[in-house]
Each structure stands twice: as C-alpha cells, then as structure tokens.
Symmetry: C2
Subunit: 225 residues, 2 copies
Amino acid sequence: MTERTRLRRLPAQGSHRVEDLHAVLDAGFVCHLGLVVDGTPMVVPTSYGRAGDTVYLHGSVASRSLRAAREPVQVCVTVTLVDGVVLARSVFNHSVNYRCAMVFGVPEVLTDDGDKLVGLEAISEHVAPGQWQYARPPSAKELAATTVLRLALDEASVKVSEGPPDDGDGPDGELDVWAGEVPLRTVRLEPVADPALRDGIGMPAHVGDGAIAPGTTRWRDLDGR
Amino acid sequence: MTERTRLRRLPAQGSHRVEDLHAVLDAGFVCHLGLVVDGTPMVVPTSYGRAGDTVYLHGSVASRSLRAAREPVQVCVTVTLVDGVVLARSVFNHSVNYRCAMVFGVPEVLTDDGDKLVGLEAISEHVAPGQWQYARPPSAKELAATTVLRLALDEASVKVSEGPPDDGDGPDGELDVWAGEVPLRTVRLEPVADPALRDGIGMPAHVGDGAIAPGTTRWRDLDGR
C-alpha cells in the first residue's frame, strides 16, 4: 500500500470499539436527544457528560416529557462533530467529514439526590472542568428542580468519515477540477467576564488556562494551515 | 434601561419571526433529522439547504426509512449552533449559549428530476457556494440514486440563548466567584488539496477566498479576544 493509497478516502466507517465511542462522546458536549412525544419525533439539543459506560443528560423540554410519561420512553442520543467539507470533482461525491455517535436506550430519570449529584458532576466536569469544585454547589431546592437522566451505553454505534474525496482514482480524476477538503474546527475564544462581575474577583486558573469545553481547540493553539 | 441592564442575560428567547428562523438555518449546514422507525426515535445528522420557505434535506439512512414508509412520516429537523459556555456563580446557573431552530412536518420525497436538481443545488450552494457551477453536475444515474427531501417551514420555532450568566443581580452576585462566558466559534481552516489531485489544477477563486461553509468564521478573520 502506497502513502497515496493509504490517504485515500474511505466511506464513513462504522465502529463498535468502545474506545471510539468514548472518544466521540468525550469530544462533544451538546447532544441531540430524540424522543417521541404524542407520536411525533422531537429532537432537542442538550448538554451531557460521560462517566464510564453511562451518559448523563440534563434536559428541560424533553425531560418534562420523559418525567410525564407513564411508560419507559425510548430515546436516541446523537453526538455529531463536523470536521470538514469535502469538495469532490463531481457534485455527487461532495460530502461532510464528521464523527458521529448514536446511543439508543431507555433512560432512567434519576430520583435519588446522590445519583443526581453524580450525574450533574459528570455533566459539569465534562463541559467546564474545575467549575464543580469552584462554583456554589446545588441547593436542595435547585437539585429538586433539576432533571437528570442516566442512559447506559449498551446499544450504540459510531461512524467516522474523514479524508479527501474518493473520486480521484476514477474517471472523474481526469477532470480539470480542483478537489480537497476545507477543515473545520470548533474554537474557544478568550473568556469574557460578566459585565456584572464585582471588582476584585480574578479569573480562576482553570478558566484562564482555556480548559473549558476541552473537546474544542483553544484559539491560541489554532493553526489555520 | 442602563447599558448594564441591557447586557443582562435573558432566558432562552423563543421567536416566531421568520427572519430569525432563516438566520439560524442559514448559519448552519448540518441538521439533526429525527424520525420514528419501528416505533423508536432515530436522530441522524445530514446536510441541508434553505430556499425561501423550504428546506431541502439530503439523507441516506433516514431517507431509506422515509422512502420505504407507506404512510406520511412526521419528522423534526433541528439545527443547533453552539455559541459559548456560560460560567455562572452557581453550578445550577451554568448553561450553554446557542441558537436553535426546530422544524416539524411531513417531508416530501422528491421524484421529479427537475425538483431534485433544485433541491440539490440549494443544498450544494448552502454548504459550498460556487461548487454547483464548478464541479461535474449529477448524471441521470447519480440523480436516481440520490434521495432529496423537501420540507416546508410551516411549523417551526427558534430559540436563542446569549449573554452573560443571570445570577449577578441575585444573592449569588455577592459570592467571590468569577463569572462570564467562554465564546465558541466554528472556524474554517485553509483548504487542503486532495493528495490525488493531478498537477496543474489550481484552486478556484471561490474556494481560495475561503467562502466554503459561509456560516462559519474564516480562521484568518478570527479574533480570539
């Protein structure tokens, strides 16, 4: 296999390796939660966190539907990271490079305060590491007002699509048409203080070092080429 | 209203203004398409384009389900743009700033070749402006192999959450806890040529000027502060 062959594009590859599943879930922090409400599909974005072979979800609209349901409710949790736009020689072969995890199952609506705190910590530390210890913890009233869902990673799939377009080796490779990829990155900018912040409160180290939203790229580290 | 009041955070605002809906749909290019398959929700990412009061979708797994269905299939198309992580003084008030459009309806699976080309052009020009004219157009065989869905924007909602945390004016404002936002941006890097590209094919102007994925920020234009 030559270097060029090795770099050729593959169709979106499915994986059942748990490491691949964890890698995609850990790189995102907003999922799309799908459920059926009154016979109609509903897809809502919500934050989540992973702990071992479990994802915890923090919902609102969807959670209300789940709480109100008298029977177990099947959901689909999809996390998609868009990595680039693939420009092929033909319109037909254009595509998007992405990593996508889909998790199916019946989530548990947590009722035990201890369980809920474990889930909230997983979500909080997934999105904003360090804030769980730094910010004021949830009060009993706040905890009661918060719905936390727990979903096992028992039924899940991962797909990854990467690389250049795949029409370079076929007849379209003879066309005088440029082909390649425009890579995309999610970048975190410098933190912006709340205008209402009182004087004299410094930015804590875990925020200042740009470690919030760890699956994204810090803008200072971004290399455009 | 003072400048500070004006900047205060509002809860996620719903909108029924069609301009707001169009703005969110035009800023994204990957949606999450939700549908019910065998009684179970399924959420798949797919590319889309808007033309007037219509969105066109280009699916695969979901499209097969829609094509196979003998009855009209209700879907939910959700487009979410994540704009930042909101760090509040309490764990409870942490949140994500986002723009989200949800469209509900029964999509039409297009069968007429002319209709399909209109839809494919809308999708192509939405993601990669200029490529529809530049790349090789779809052949009759490719067109037959492509499923294009058309969905009216009749039933849709938009939510926008932005600004700093909202706990600066309450009792938590007295805590010695830093609060603010870590803004996030989706950035497009410099185009990367296909390693299989033949010598002598220059990058076309519409790619070289960085206009692919127009809802994202060109990395050269990124200001981290």
